[in-house]
Symmetry: D2
Subunit: 250 residues, 4 copies
C-alpha cells in the first residue's frame, strides 16, 4: 500500500471539522496527525508533520493559518468563508511565493451540488426555459439559498454566452411572489418545510420535453467525500485553486 | 347488457365538447344522440331523446340550456364557467321545482385534481408545514393556477378547523418573491416551463418526514373520465350538486 | 393548562425507546415518569404512577408487560413486533376483562406512511394502473419493504372490491426483473441507494393524467409524532385497537 | 439574413417525417424544398436542390437514398433504424469516397435524453450507487426501454474505467423481480402506467446525498429540435458521424 497522507485539521471540534476528523480517521489512505481547535496552537500541525491541512475555522483566523502552512510547505484545503476578491488576490500573491505548495479555497464541498451546477449550466442553452426550486428546513435564514443563487448565475451566464433568448412567460395576472425571485433572469423558488434538509431542483424545458437535475442532501456527512477527494488531490496541484470543481475536474 | 344512457352534448364542436363527444362515443354504456353547437337548435337534444345533457358552452348560453333541460326532465352535467353564488342560488330554486331531475355544476372534472385536493386537506392538520408548487406551460396567463389557489384555501381551512399553528419559517433575508405567493397563509410557487402541460405538487412536512401529493395532467383527455363518471351518476342524484367530488364521493 | 399525562417507557434505552423518551420529555403536555429497560423491574412504571405505558421491547417480554399494565389500569401503546393472529386473539380476551383500559398494537407509527397507504387505496379504483417504487439505503435486507408490500395489498383489495380490471401491460419482451415484483397483481420496484433513508412512491395512472403519492422518511424521529399522538388518544379508546390509523382516524 | 438551408425530407408522410416537415417549415432559417414518401421518386430532392436530406424511412430503403445523396453532394441526417456494425462500415467506406459530404446516423434525436445519458455517465464514478427507473405508457412492448439499457451500459462503462467498486446491496431476501433487471451491473426498473408518455430517472447515491437526473418526454415533438440542430450542423461536419451527441457536442 502507498504511504498514507498525514492530515491536520484546523477547527477540529467545530460542527464541520469534527466530521472531517471522523472521515479522515476512517479513510485507509489518510492519517489524522493533528486536531487543532481555537484554544490550541496551530503550529501543532507542523510539529506533527501534516502534509495537508484542512481549515474549517473563522474568517478572522484563516489567513494566519494559511501563512503558517505556506511557510512550512503544508498544502491546504480551506472551507472557511470570507474569501472575497481582495482576500483571494492577497492569498494568490502569497501562494506564488511558495512554488510547489497547493491551496484550495472552496465555498462548497458537495460533489453533488457542484455536478448539479455544471450540468445545469451546460444544459441551459439547449432549452427555452430554466427555473430553480430549492427546498430546505424551516430554520434557514436566507431565501433563496446561496447554492440556488449561484446556480442561477451560472445558468444565466451560459445562456448569455450562447445567445439564448429570454424564457417565454405569458403571465399577465399574478399574485405577488407567485413567480419566484428573479436571479439574473432565472426564476428561483424557495420552499421551507419541516422535515427537509437541503434539496434543489433545476428544471429545464423545451418543445415537448423537460430535463430535471435534482440534488438532495440528507445530512452533513455529504460534504465529507469532497473534502477527502480534495485532500488527496491538492498535493499534485501547486498554486491557488478556487472551487473544488476545478481541482477535481467535476 | 343494461340499456345505454342517451347523451346529448351542448358545445359539441368546442375544444372540450368535441373530446366529450369522442369519449361518449367510445363508451359501451353510453349513446351519443345529439351534438349541438352554437348554430344548432338546442331543442334537438330533447327531440333525440337525450336522458343526460353535457354542457361545455358559454356563460351567456348555459342558463337557457338548463331551463330547457329542466322543462323536459333531462339531467345535466355542466362544465361551463360563470357560476357565481347568485347564479347558483337562482339555479337551485329552478331545480327544486323539478323533483327527480339532477344537475351537476362542476369547475373541475379531473378526478386526479379532486383527489389531490381532498388528500391535501386531510393530511394538512397532521403536518407542521404545507407548501404548493404548481408547474404549467409558459402560455398560461394567471399565476398561481386556480387549482393551486383552491388547494391552498382547502388546506388553510382544514388547518384552521384543527387549530394548527402557522408553519415555521425563520426566513429573515429574502429576495422578493423567493418564498412564493401567500394564499391564506399557504406559500404557493408557480413554475412556467416550455414542454410542461399542467402539474401540481403539495408538499407536507413534519418531524423527519415529508408527504408529497403530485398530480400531472399530460393532455386534455384527462377530464373525460370525470365527465363520463358524472353522466353515469347524475340520474341517481336529483337536485343541484356543486362539485364533482360530491357526486362521486371522491 | 390541563394536567400532564404521566408516561412510562419500556425499552427506554433501545434505539426507538430512547427517542420516545426524548420526545415525551420535550412535549409540554406529557411527563416522563419511568424509563424501564431490560435490567429494570417493569413494576417501576406502576409505582411511578404512569397513566400510559409505551412498549418498544421484545416479543418475549411484551406479553408480560401488558399483563402488568392491564392489572393496574395502565393504558398501553405497543410498537413491539411479533403480534400474529393468535397472539392478538389472546390479548383481546385479556383486554376485555379490563373495561376502561385501552391498548394499541401498531406495526407502524409513521403518520405519513399510514396516510400514503390510505390515500393509495382510496385512489386506486379511480385509475387504470398502479405501481409502487420504494427506495431505501443499501443495508436493508428485504426487498420490497414491508410498507411497500402492505400498500400493494391494500391497493389490490380496494381494486378487487371495486371490480377494477387488471392494469394494462403490453410488455412482450422483458429482461428478468425489469417489471418488478408482483404483489397481489401490483408491480413493486425496490431501489437501494447509498445516501437514502426510507422512501416510497405510489404511482397511479389514467387517461392523460397521473397521481403520485410519495412519502420520505429522513430519520428515525419520524415515528415520534405518531407515538405521542397515540399516547394522547389511547385513554379515550378502551379495548384493543390494532393499527394507529384506527386510533387516530387517519 | 443568411441564406436559408434547403431541406428535403424522405419519409415525409410517416409519423416522424411529417413532424419533421412541419418543424422545418416553421423554422425561419430552413426551407422545405422536397417532401418524398414511398410512392415518390427520391431523385426529387436532388431536382429541387436540397442541400440536406432528412431520412426517417425503412432499413430496406435508406441505403439507396444515401447512395443518391452521396452521388449528388447532399448532406444527410438519418434517423432510420437498422444500422448495425456491418452496415455502418459499408456506409463509412462510401462516405470516404465523397469528401466534403456529411452524413449523420443517430438512433436518438432527443437532446434531453442525450444530455441525461452523458450527465449520468460523468456523475457515475463519483457515487457509490446508481440505479435507473424508466416509466412509459402501458402499450410499450419492451422492458426496459432501449434508452434505459443504453444509459446503464454507459454508466457501467464509466464506472469500470474509473475502477468503481460494485454498488452496495445487502438484500438477502427478495421477491422475484423486486430489485429490477441487471444491465451490466446496473439495476433497471421499468414502470408501465396509463397516462405516461416516456420518462426516465437516473438515481445516483453517495454518503448523505443523492443526485437525480430525470428526462420527461411529453409528446413526439420532443425530437424535432434535435433534428433541426443536426440539419444546421451537418454541412460543417464532413464524413460519417454516428450519434447526435458527437455532432452537437452535447
Amino acid at each position: 500500500m502507498a504511504q498514507r497522507i498525514a492530515v491536520g485539521v484546523l477547527g477540529a471540534r467545530g460542527k464541520v471539522g469534527s466530521q472531517v476528523c471522523a472521515a479522515v480517521d476512517a479513510a485507509d489512505d489518510l492519517e489524522l496527525v493533528a486536531e487543532v481547535d481555537e484554544d490550541d496552537d496551530p503550529r501543532l500541525l507542523v510539529e506533527r508533520g501534516a502534509a495537508v491541512a484542512v481549515d474549517f475555522t473563522h474568517p478572522d483566523a484563516v489567513m494566519g493559518h494559511l501563512e503558517l502552512c505556506l511557510a512550512h510547505g503544508v498544502h491546504a484545503v480551506v472551507g472557511t468563508t470570507g474569501f472575497d476578491d481582495a482576500r483571494l488576490a492577497a492569498l494568490r500573491a502569497q501562494v506564488e511565493q511558495r512554488p510547489g505548495v497547493g491551496v484550495l479555497v472552496a465555498p462548497n464541498f458537495s460533489i453533488g451540488a457542484l455536478l448539479m451546477m455544471r450540468f445545469a449550466a451546460e444544459a441551459a442553452p439547449h432549452y427555452e426555459s430554466v427555473e430553480i426550486v430549492e427546498l430546505h428546513h424551516p430554520t434557514k435564514a436566507d431565501a433563496p439559498s446561496g447554492t440556488a443563487r449561484r446556480t442561477a448565475e451560472l445558468v444565466a451566464a451560459a445562456r448569455r454566452e450562447a445567445g439564448s433568448p429570454p424564457a417565454p412567460d405569458a403571465t399577465s395576472t399574478a399574485l405577488d411572489g407567485a413567480r419566484g425571485a428573479d436571479v439574473d433572469g432565472v426564476p428561483v423558488h424557495a420552499v421551507r418545510l419541516r422535515g427537509l434538509v437541503a434539496h434543489q431542483e433545476v428544471l429545464l424545458g423545451g418543445s415537448g420535453e423537460t430535463l430535471t437535475i435534482r440534488h438532495d442532501s440528507f445530512d452533513r456527512s455529504s460534504f465529507a467525500p469532497g473534502v477527502l477527494a480534495a485532500v488527496r488531490a491538492i498535493g499534485d496541484r501547486p498554486g491557488l485553486t478556487v472551487g473544488l470543481e476545478h481541482l477535481l475536474e467535476l
